[in-house]
């Protein structure tokens, strides 16, 4: 379209023009050879889009969500309590402390740790690695229910993350 008003036609049909601009466009429409046909086309497109049926969610959709929501809403133990509260958490903490002691003794005695070929990595050292990484921690059984997504939720949501 060559008419100078053509760029405003969509805004007009979408109700996005301010009053003064709308009045100006409407008086233009009365005398323009091109714009009224385009407005009619845009309105027909709008009607086509509006005629699409909205589908219903499945019968279980709402009940499933409410169950998940209520499970979320139950107050949960803090991360610290989950890590160190239960006997498994205690075992993990003890293992970590043990590993720290081994490393400390190694450093104090000035002796390099024995090569892996002679002494395979212990579960203690593996646990130390896990403790360094929250993403991996989220997969541990002691953190069941706390997903990596959940840990990141605050950062992901603009309203919250800032």
């Amino acid at each position: 379209m060559s008419c100078a008003f053509s760029e405003k036609l969509e805004l007009y049909v979408d109700g996005a023009l301010e009053a003064a601009a709308r009045a100006e466009l409407e008086s233009h429409l009365a005398g323009c050879a091109e714009c009224p046909a385009e407005v009619a086309r845009l309105r027909r497109l709008d009607e086509l889009l509006g005629a699409l049926p909205e589908s219903e969610p499945s019968a279980r959709f709402e009940a499933t969500f409410l169950r998940r929501l209520r499970a979320e809403a139950v107050p949960r133990a803090s991360l610290r309590e989950r890590l160190f509260g239960g006997w498994r958490g205690f075992a993990l903490a003890a293992a970590a402390a043990g590993a720290a002691a081994v490393v400390a003794v190694g450093v104090w005695s000035g002796r390099a740790p024995e090569p892996e070929t002679e002494r395979p990595p212990t579960a203690v050292l593996q646990n130390l690695d896990l403790l360094k990484n929250l993403d991996v921690l989220a997969n541990l059984e002691v953190l069941e229910g706390v997903t990596a997504e959940e840990l990141e939720a605050v950062a992901e949501i603009p309203e919250v993350g800032g």
Binding site: L11, R41, L49, P57, F61, L66, L69, E149, V154, I157
Partner: protein, 212 residues
């Protein structure tokens, strides 16, 4: 100090009040938000992912994500704008994982015939009713035309036409400028007018109006 005035439109939004109640621990408030918005949300999400079960799962995740972050919620817009900002991000992230792209393209290519019309492939339409067949064909054509839009154009169009967001709210939801939103909507509508041209002719006007 930011003084909140009583004529602030976002605070007049009853959904914002429900969300603030949810923030204060009122689960009922959040359940009401879900009841009110979930059906429209599922319909929105369905236009990004290829099947209803996936759309329902993603819709639940979107609401759970908002619930998990409720303690830090601060109203900066209507709740609906906030909801669809999270929803659009979630859908586009899912699409970027690449599981769905190929299937959408194949659906689109499979439906269109040489004359630009779209074949009706709805098997559960009962034969014998021309009006039903025409309505089904039209719906299929419109759905295919929407699916064929690039994702951001599609999001902008859906937010405008089905979620009732203003240009300003779409800009906020998509984290774009208003001119960028105008451009997206212009391109989306230009593409739709081309793809749906057979249904936009003068002869079809009455038929379309009758169906609307």
């Amino acid at each position: 100090v930011c003084e909140v005035t009583s004529n602030d439109p976002k605070l007049a939004d009853p959904d914002v009040a429900l969300m603030l109640r949810a923030k204060d621990g009122d689960l009922r408030g959040f359940e009401q938000l879900f009841s009110k918005h979930s059906k429209a949300l599922v319909n929105f999400v369905k236009r990004f992912v290829p099947n209803a079960a996936v759309a329902e799962e993603l819709s639940q995740e979107i609401f759970l994500k908002i619930y998990r972050a409720r303690s830090a919620y601060e109203p900066r817009s209507r709740f609906k704008t906030f909801l669809y900002r999270i929803a659009t991000n979630h859908c586009l992230n899912e699409l970027r994982r690449g599981h769905y792209r190929e299937r959408f393209e194949s659906i689109d290519q499979g439906l269109e015939t040489d004359d630009g019309r779209v074949r009706t492939e709805i098997s559960d339409v009962r034969p014998g009713s021309q009006a039903v067949l025409e309505a089904a064909e039209l719906s299929t054509a419109v759905e295919a035309a929407i699916s064929a839009l690039p994702e951001t154009q599609r999001a902008a169009l859906l937010l405008l036409r089905y979620q009732g967001l203003s240009y300003e709210e779409i800009a906020e939801a998509l984290e774009l400028s208003i001119p960028a939103v105008k451009s997206l909507l212009n391109r989306a509508k230009t593409a739709l007018k081309e793809r749906l041209a057979p249904y936009l002719g003068e002869d079809d006007e009455l038929r379309v109006q009758r169906k609307a």
